[in-house]
């Protein structure tokens, strides 16, 4: 896909995120905006996907969102990819909606394969799905996304140890390194240390995408990650992003982790992100 088309998707996804969160005065715009470019590239440029959604996902790449609070970007990307009507984005966080505050399979939303939101569980699930692919002689891949603050949950390190020890080389786990979490920067809440050397010490193949909000850098990084699969090691991408990317007043801090813009702030944010593919 041309970069222009990906750019259009990014702008439209940002608008979706902002409008969804504003409409219910709740949700998590910061991390959603920070991962928008990544998820747009992943779904439109990288993953091999079947036309129809089936839970078992045989012969297609699968994606697991572990940091489920960035559901707005996940929902927008899924809808714009055609998993469900974009109009349904207007039901986000409403009663009787398939678009729950955090993603779930419970309401049968196509594109979602496990519930997430309670943090730290997604990597284990991704490993299980990767094991099933190996058992099924299915050479397609498993992708997962995790917050950096989320790595404070101990279950991740059980999973990180297991994945390396069992050569899960069909798994590409991406860490959204934005350095922010609810209570402040990760450095002030609980310093993460050197994530690259930590993953490497556990036996992972680690690559970094320094410009985690740049479409070209993400394409290059994910393409490189794919080249590294099948070599006995799980692959970790450290994706350095800016929380709130694309909306000037939401960037460079943790304040917009879980806060919705008011009417005026929404107008300001939308002005910075013109409509490209039609609002829902």
């Amino acid at each position: 896909m041309e970069i222009k088309k990906l750019d259009d998707l990014v702008y439209q996804t940002r608008r979706d995120i902002l409008r969804m969160v504003h409409a219910v005065s709740s949700g998590h715009p910061g991390g959603s905006l920070g991962c928008t470019e990544f998820l747009v590239v992943l779904y439109h440029e990288i993953m091999r996907l079947n036309k129809n959604f089936e839970m078992d996902g045989i012969n297609e790449d699968l994606f697991f969102l572990s940091n489920g609070h960035i559901s707005p970007v996940f929902y927008s990307v899924l809808a714009r990819k055609g998993y469900f009507p974009v109009e349904e984005l207007s039901t986000f966080r409403h009663i009787n909606s398939r678009l729950q505050g955090h993603p779930t399979t419970h309401e049968g939303l196509p594109g979602v394969r496990v519930a997430s939101g309670s943090l730290g569980q997604g990597m284990s699930v991704a490993i299980g799905a990767a094991q099933a692919k190996k058992l099924n002689d299915d050479s397609t891949l498993i992708y997962s996304l995790h917050g950096d603050g989320e790595l404070q949950e101990g279950q991740n390190w059980e999973a990180i140890m297991y994945a390396a020890g069992n050569h899960m080389d069909n798994l590409i786990a991406t860490i959204d390194v934005n350095g922010q979490q609810i209570d402040g920067s990760t450095d002030t809440v609980l310093p993460m240390g050197n994530l690259k050397t930590k993953f490497e010490a556990f036996g992972w193949d680690v690559l970094e995408i320094k410009e985690g909000n740049d479409l070209n850098a993400i394409i290059v990084g994910l393409t490189e990650a794919k080249n590294r699969i099948g070599k006995k090691k799980p692959v970790c991408i450290l994706l350095y992003t800016t929380m709130g990317n694309g909306v000037d007043f939401m960037m460079h801090g943790h304040e917009w982790h879980g806060k919705a813009p008011n009417k005026q702030q929404l107008a300001d944010a939308l002005r910075q992100n013109p409509e490209t593919l039609g609002d829902y």
Partner: protein, 322 residues
């Protein structure tokens, strides 16, 4: 004349699980097994050696095990996880809640060493709250088996049921008295017919209930003993039918009375047919180290305790009818 139950051998229920899993290894190619460093205790060794590709040694990382099991279902596998009951439930409650139950994943959580009969290891390992934890999860089926044969049959049966299941069994050798292959999820088994009292027992306590019914017969009390292996969903029809006849009920379980079988049945009766009920269960306490038989006496989980509970409930029934 009341039917007598006898046995020729004693075996542990966990070996029934191992035997069931071995059979599934041959008949169900999609069944996979996961263990958190307790292959020997869970009797999973034969499956592991026969199907190394379908067996996952997770290490001492139960949270990861539950998550991996949930992920394996996405590729069409039927995962059976194995560890002690405490580490199968309390330790990983949120993982089961989100990644398995809420996500409707077809995971079979198989738990050995449940209850006081774990014995000498003491209260850190003797969970008495697991039935409550699991039955509260929407969509979770909860099964507690009584002997080797029933555990083997249940293990096989849950593979063909689509949905999350908690299968609870234990460590000690106990009499083998149930026929094989007499198992239907959610359907109680009537062991004896009686008219004075219904005794609904689960797990290791079913045998104690049978012993109690023989002692009660000598006292002229006719007890209807029901083997309830499935605690959720509850076989409401069978229980209500029995208490309609007997007018009194004693529930028996190796579990805290809070959150257990007795509480489920009390809820059922209060809504449909309020009936005098006595609980034979642990009285809201932790366990302790000791030989299983000693512990069962100390915590009032034996045939004598059941007899006393029956006498009490029949007194209450008679008072109410006056």
């Amino acid at each position: 004349m009341k039917k007598k139950y006898t046995y020729t051998e004693k075996k542990d229920t966990r070996s029934g699980f191992g035997a069931g899993l071995t059979e599934l290894g041959k008949t169900h190619p999609n069944v996979v097994a996961l263990c958190a460093d307790l292959i020997g205790s869970l009797k999973m060794g034969e499956f592991a050696s026969s199907h190394p590709d379908r067996f996952f040694q997770i290490g001492i990382a139960e949270a990861n095990m539950i998550g991996i099991a949930a992920g394996l279902t996405i590729g069409g596998k039927i995962p059976f996880t194995g560890t002690f009951a405490n580490f199968s439930t309390g330790r990983v409650y949120d993982q089961i809640r989100q990644s398995v139950a809420y996500s409707s994943k077809n995971v079979k959580i198989c738990a050995s060493h449940a209850g006081l009969t774990l014995g000498e290891d003491g209260a850190t390992h003797q969970i008495l709250e697991d039935i409550g934890l699991m039955k509260m999860l929407p969509g979770m089926t909860v099964i507690n088996t009584c002997d080797y044969n029933q555990t083997k049959s249940a293990t096989i049966a849950i593979a063909d049921y689509d949905g999350p299941v908690y299968l609870r069994f234990g460590r000690p050798v106990v009499p083998v008295y149930m026929p094989e292959n007499e198992f239907e999820i959610g359907k109680v088994i009537h062991l004896t017919e009686g008219k004075d009292v219904t005794i609904v027992a689960t797990g290791h306590m079913v045998w104690e209930a049978l012993q109690a019914s023989e002692k009660l017969e000598e006292l002229g009390i006719s007890a209807e003993v029901i083997n309830i292996h499935t605690i959720k969903p509850l076989d409401a029809e069978s229980i209500l039918k029995s208490v309609n006849k007997t007018g009194a009920i004693v529930t028996v379980e190796e579990h805290n009375y809070l959150g257990g079988l007795g509480e489920s049945i009390a809820g059922l009766l209060s809504l449909n047919n309020p009936t005098p009920q006595e609980f034979v269960a642990v009285n809201d306490s932790f366990g302790e180290s000791g030989v299983p038989e000693q512990l069962m006496v100390k915590y009032n989980l034996n045939d004598e305790a059941i007899v006393e509970a029956v006498k009490k409930v029949i007194r209450r029934k008679n008072e109410e009818t006056i």
